[in-house]
């Protein structure tokens, strides 16, 4: 490794009109050709740090800046952003807003045109960039024809075309489904390994980061807590939990096995070493009956939601659902998983009568959905969509929460009482007179939940509540879902973060290409590794570890979580531990 590609020297930064330091005394070097991962909870300053590398912070925002940032030999305050942009490519979180052109080739050409690259050279770079991200032949396509993963790859291609020395990616996979995430990581790894591109990537995807990054930098509250290899960082499970971060499941598993007393060497962070370590342990440790999370019994009686041979074709001809049949009973907690386009949201919209079947029938509470009015149904079934901002309509938090109640015609008394209740339950009472948009993004989701819960529905549907959230935020929302379930409500959650769900869901429905591929209790469903893999879903690492352990000891171990896996191994304390 030669001299570093980027150097941050005691960098601190404060946004304008703010009194708080967003970055505090960060000293960090990015080595040439390395893949540096940036992890930290929401608000730690990862995005700001990424933006210091191309000069957007502070040149674009203003504010107060301390220290020095040098990229490819250029100080980021002494050169205009347009110069720095030729050395640092940037890829952002939202696939939609970062694509600004009407065709793939125009997207890549845009930045090149801005820096006055001649036309022939632009053409050459476009085809090179598309080849590098495996999007050859898509030049004329419009961005909305691309999938999420393809959009992000296009953004990477556009950044690559500038032939930068450093590629900075700020949570590029947060909004993507598992296929998209895999595509992006594969692309980035290839760029790093084959082309030697230096990479800085902020991400919450712990498993992938452990696999691909050369070093990990942990950021918290604006300060750099530690830097090291993934083996060094991700094995420090206590440290990660202190900063509300989630380690890779293999690390949590081994951390639990050793009850927190092992050093990094015995806490692997990647799958391969973990499987090997497991084999070593199987001879060292004794096997116990695992402590498994209790999962409730199958429900009977009249189903709350009943679907028979449902088919749905969109007005433009896309077939979204085909031959779907299932029953959901009262009090169940159902998890629906699948890639984007599998039909999950389409199915759920039928439960709300937002869509009516083109084939087959949907019965809600015994009544055919065609006879039900959406707004009436809202009292019984609440739906919380992914983006809170498109579900907020009022000028104050209090008004937002009572919005539905007023529409549904409840008396002023009832409206007042329920609003109060809902605000208190979601911890929003002090914020009741504030404008919803003055709250942080993560808190806005709580407003929507409060607003929906004020209607006191019996069934609540959460559509991708964990996408775009950090670990703490995701758990907060899922804990609410668990409380609702414990109170007897029926809960349906759509998500692709499989590893978060074992503590919550009873039953899993796997969808693919408009049909149901699997409908089984969670413990059974997660064991169907081949089926999950065929639809590009990865079972949680704990499940894979359990299977491997099961193979070693010759026993079926249908375990779901790191804690469960750890509970079946009784190990002597590690040497020196």
């Amino acid at each position: 490794m030669s001299e570093p590609i980027a150097v941050l020297d005691r960098v601190s930064y404060m946004y304008p009109r703010s009194r708080d330091l967003v970055l505090r005394d960060i000293t960090l070097q990015v080595r040439r050709g390395e893949f540096l991962g940036l992890i930290g909870p929401t608000g730690a300053g990862k995005t700001t740090l990424c933006l210091t590398l191309n000069g957007v912070v502070p040149q674009f925002y203003g504010g107060r800046f301390f220290g020095h940032v040098t990229v490819a030999g250029l100080d980021t305050l002494e050169h205009p952003i347009s110069t720095l942009a030729q050395h640092v490519g940037a890829v952002f979180q939202d696939p939609e807003t970062q694509l600004i052109a009407t065709s793939v080739e125009n997207e890549i050409a845009f930045a090149l045109e801005n820096i006055r690259v001649p036309r022939d050279e632009i053409r050459k770079r476009i085809s090179r960039a598309l080849t590098a991200v495996r999007l050859e032949g898509t030049e004329a396509r419009h961005p909305h024809e691309l999938s999420g993963g393809q959009k992000q790859r296009l953004a990477i291609a556009a950044a690559l075309a500038m032939q930068p020395d450093l590629l900075v990616l700020d949570e590029p996979t947060s909004q993507l489904d598992p296929i998209g995430t895999q595509e992006v990581f594969a692309t980035v790894r290839e760029l790093n390994r084959e082309l030697g591109m230096s990479i800085v990537m902020a991400s919450h995807a712990a498993e992938e980061m452990a696999e691909y990054a050369d070093r990990i930098a942990l950021l918290s509250s604006g300060g750099l807590v530690t830097v090291g290899t993934p083996d060094e960082i991700y094995s420090q499970v206590d440290l990660l939990e202190e900063h509300h971060l989630r380690p890779p499941q293999v690390a949590s598993t081994f951390h639990s096995i050793w009850r927190g007393k092992a050093d990094a060497a015995r806490v692997p962070v990647r799958m391969e070493p973990a499987l090997q370590e497991l084999e070593a342990l199987s001879s060292e440790c004794s096997l116990r009956a695992p402590e498994m999370l209790a999962k409730p019994v199958v429900h009977g009686g009249t189903p709350l939601l009943s679907v028979r041979d449902l088919g749905y074709v969109y007005p433009d001809g896309t077939e979204a659902l085909n031959g779907v049949s299932l029953d959901v009973h009262e009090g169940e907690y159902v998890l629906i998983i699948g890639q984007n386009g599998a039909g999950k949201t389409t199915l759920v919209k039928h439960f709300l009568s937002l869509l009516l079947p083109t084939e087959g029938a949907v019965a809600i509470g015994g009544m055919d959905s065609r006879e039900l009015v959406v707004s009436d149904l809202a009292k019984r079934i609440g739906y919380i969509a992914q983006n809170p901002d498109s579900q907020i309509f009022s000028n104050t938090v209090g008004e937002e929460v009572s919005f539905a109640l007023t529409n549904l015609g409840y008396s002023a008394e009832v409206v007042r009482a329920r609003t109060q209740e809902s605000l208190t339950a979601m911890g929003l009472l002090e914020a009741r007179n504030r404008h919803p948009l003055s709250l942080a993004k993560g808190d806005r989701a709580r407003i929507v939940i409060a607003a929906v819960l004020a209607m006191q529905p019996d069934t609540v549907i959460f559509d991708e509540p964990t996408t775009g959230q950090d670990f703490r935020g995701a758990r907060y929302i899922l804990d609410i879902s668990r409380e609702l379930h414990a109170a007897g409500k029926t809960v349906i959650v759509i998500t692709h973060h499989l590893y978060l769900m074992p503590e919550y869901a009873d039953r899993v429905i796997v969808m693919g290409k408009g049909t149901i591929l699997l409908d089984a209790p969670i413990r059974e469903a997660y064991q169907r590794v081949d089926l999950l893999r065929s639809t590009f879903l990865t079972p949680p690492q704990a499940v894979l570890l359990a299977r491997h352990l099961g193979q070693i000891v010759g026993q079926q171990l249908p375990l779901l979580t790191p804690a469960e896996v750890a509970s079946c191994l009784e190990c002597p304390p590690p040497e020196g531990g």
Partner: protein
């Protein structure tokens, strides 16, 4: 009709092979002529020519039919109002004191009894119908037949500052997202008990207004991200940049430009000198 992408024609024709600038000239000249001419005869000829050109250029006949269908109530209204009540103006235009009645409403009818529809008034109504038809259809003829890249660069070569052209192209890129967003918002409101099916007009107005608020605010929040993205792509708004596509005027482009320029001149001259295109031309001398 899918509005999410910019609609273009599928057939290759003279129109698609032309650069954007001669088409801009065409739109301008035809619009001016439609604006100035008053004769129903010449307006009909112009409108018909434009429709035929559209069809030849590949604009879908369904689309044209849809436009005519949507405008039909308006057109009928025009015929009725001008036929019955446009008296002073047509008298002035035709130089007649008495108009030719075509049809008279019986005296007994309340309010409108005795009103008579004149041939001249009706003719004037037709004039306006064809005028608007031309003004509307000349746009698909020019725009739908233009590849977007050519449109963008053509605008730049026509000396429009790049900033404005950029705003145009990125608005084109983003507005479909907003249309989808509108649908999401309406759905979300229905799920909070807003029963739009049961509302009458004034209430629906308030609902539409309530949709616009989160739409605009959401858009403004996104605009902040957009700013950072533009910065990171070295965007300064300056027109000093290179372009992937070219906008070159070939001989056929110049031929078209010259043709329309001459057409305009000749039409104006004939209008003033021989009254060609004036309301009474060919019909009411």
């Amino acid at each position: 009709m899918s509005l999410l992408t910019y609609q273009t024609v599928e057939r290759d024709s003279l129109f698609t092979r032309l650069d954007f600038r001669p088409k801009l000239v065409m739109i301008a000249v035809l619009s001016v002529l439609a604006f100035v001419w008053e004769s129903p005869v010449i307006q009909a000829a112009l409108a018909l020519t434009v429709i035929v050109a559209c069809l030849l250029a590949g604009v879908k006949s369904d689309y044209i039919k849809m436009i005519v269908k949507l405008m039909l109530p308006f057109y009928l209204l025009l015929l009725v109002t001008h036929g019955f009540w446009n008296t002073e103006q047509v008298k002035a235009l035709t130089g007649r004191d008495v108009l030719t009645p075509l049809f008279t409403v019986p005296q007994q009818w309340p309010l409108v009894g005795g009103a008579s529809m004149s041939a001249e008034g009706l003719a004037y109504g037709w004039n306006i119908i064809f005028k608007t038809l031309t003004l509307v259809l000349v746009i698909p003829l020019g725009i739908f037949t233009t590849d977007l890249n050519n449109l963008i660069v053509g605008m730049v070569r026509s000396r429009i500052p790049y900033k404005l052209v950029f705003i145009f192209s990125s608005t084109l890129r983003f507005f479909p997202l907003l249309v989808q967003e509108m649908q999401t918002i309406v759905q979300a409101q229905r799920l909070r008990g807003l029963a739009t099916e049961r509302m009458w007009v004034l209430q629906r107005a308030r609902v539409y207004a309530k949709v616009a608020i989160p739409l605009i605010l959401g858009a403004m929040v996104k605009s902040q991200q957009l700013e950072v993205v533009l910065q990171s792509k070295a965007f300064t708004g300056s027109s000093d940049r290179t372009y992937l596509y070219e906008s070159v005027l070939h001989r056929r482009d110049w031929a078209v430009i010259v043709f329309f320029a001459l057409l305009l001149i000749v039409a104006v001259v004939l209008y003033v000198w021989q009254g060609v295109g004036q309301f009474a031309w060919l019909l009411f001398r």
